[in-house]
């Protein structure tokens, strides 16, 4: 009897590991910045380059920082979700236009609509490095004290908005 049970148990354990392993996303690198203050920057605004924006301006508010670009394909998928979210006026969305040309970015927002309270232009991608950006789009949930509470890697979907981001935002706003 033992002869059959042992290989069977080994098989089940191995199958279990493989099943879990195949469902993990190896592209998703957990961010060490969650729970840390959002890195400080000051960048020109996309629509009014003479004005600067800094995360410190947002102290006392819960906000989303969405990293996007006009060349980014997944951003197209995400865009209607952000448009809907901005219509609901639950939480302000700020855009970090990552390694983009100003004309392209403005055209993109004109065509698809602009869900952002404002966007800043990170032309050289330096702020992106500070935030640990490695694939656009990425979205950070930042609390009233300026601490990053969550990082969404890849597009925001109605599912992860409903299940993760909005409940977290509500919880942080209540604090």
């Amino acid at each position: 009897m033992m002869r059959f049970i042992l290989p069977f148990v080994v098989f089940v354990v191995l199958a279990g590991f493989l099943f879990v392993g195949l469902n993990l996303n190896p592209r998703e690198v957990p961010s060490p910045l969650v729970g840390k203050p959002a890195p400080i920057f000051s960048l020109p605004q996309l629509h009014e380059p003479s004005k600067q924006f800094s995360p410190q301006d947002m102290k006392g508010q819960v906000w989303l920082l969405n990293v996007w670009a006009s060349w980014c394909v997944s951003c197209r998928e995400e865009h209607p979700v952000l448009m809907e979210l901005s219509r609901q006026k639950i939480v302000p969305i700020y855009g970090l236009d990552y390694k983009d040309k100003q004309a392209d970015a403005e055209l993109w927002l004109k065509k698809g609509g602009d869900p952002y309270t404002l966007s800043v232009a990170d032309v050289e991608g330096r702020i992106g490095i500070d935030y640990g950006v490695y694939g656009v789009p990425e979205t950070y949930v930042i609390d009233k004290q300026g601490i990053i509470q969550y990082k969404q890697i890849g597009p925001v979907t109605p599912d992860n908005l409903r299940e993760k981001i909005l409940p977290l935002v509500a919880e942080l706003q209540a604090k």
């Binding site: 190896p26 592209r27 690198v29 957990p30 961010s31 060490p32 910045l33 390694k99 050289e124 991608g125 330096r126 992106g128 490095i129 500070d130 935030y131 640990g132 490695y134 694939g135």
Partner: protein
């Protein structure tokens, strides 16, 4: 004229590489140090390539960042700490030993230990089983000796035919 043309054609390939020169630092020593460090770091976009060998745009930006921090006089360790604080241990090809990486570092040794344990157990078990089967009494061995004495030629013949 013909020679001039040949020389011009020979120079053509060098033109196409002119664009890459921008990426190089002025200082070849610093560039070498940067490449040496980037070799130990992982590119986050194409995850099986090092930062030194990757052509991804992010890798280029990160190499620029590393180069600039070196120019500022930061040590290799300070630069590694900076990148780890942004991207996590994932950027290191040689991750540090800590709670979350214990399985990674010592898992193989644990498996080896378990494997050798099972092997030793199986070998012992088999040895006992074999010993039981072969156990012969004194009477058996006397009978065997007697048989051997009686027919020495026959046994040697049997041996030959077997061979």
């Amino acid at each position: 004229m013909r020679n001039l043309l040949i020389v011009l054609f020979c120079l053509l390939p060098s033109l196409s590489f002119a664009g890459e020169a921008k990426d190089m630092a002025e200082d070849p020593v610093l560039e070498k140090r940067m490449i040496g460090l980037a070799d130990k770091l992982r590119c986050l976009v194409c995850q099986n390539e090092s930062l030194a060998s990757s052509h991804a745009e992010l890798a280029e930006d990160l190499r620029r960042e590393v180069r600039e921090q070196m120019q500022k006089g930061m040590s290799d360790q300070e630069i590694i700490d900076y990148l780890v604080s942004r991207y996590g241990d994932f950027v290191l090809y040689d991750p540090p030993v800590k709670k979350t990486t214990l399985l990674l570092w010592y898992g193989p040794f644990a498996l080896l230990l378990i494997g050798s344990g099972v092997l030793v157990y199986q070998l012992r078990k088999r040895k006992d089983a074999v010993a039981d089967e072969v156990a012969i009494t004194d009477a058996d061995s006397q009978r065997a000796a007697a048989l051997l004495r009686e027919t020495p030629e026959q046994t040697s013949q049997a041996k030959d035919s077997q061979a």
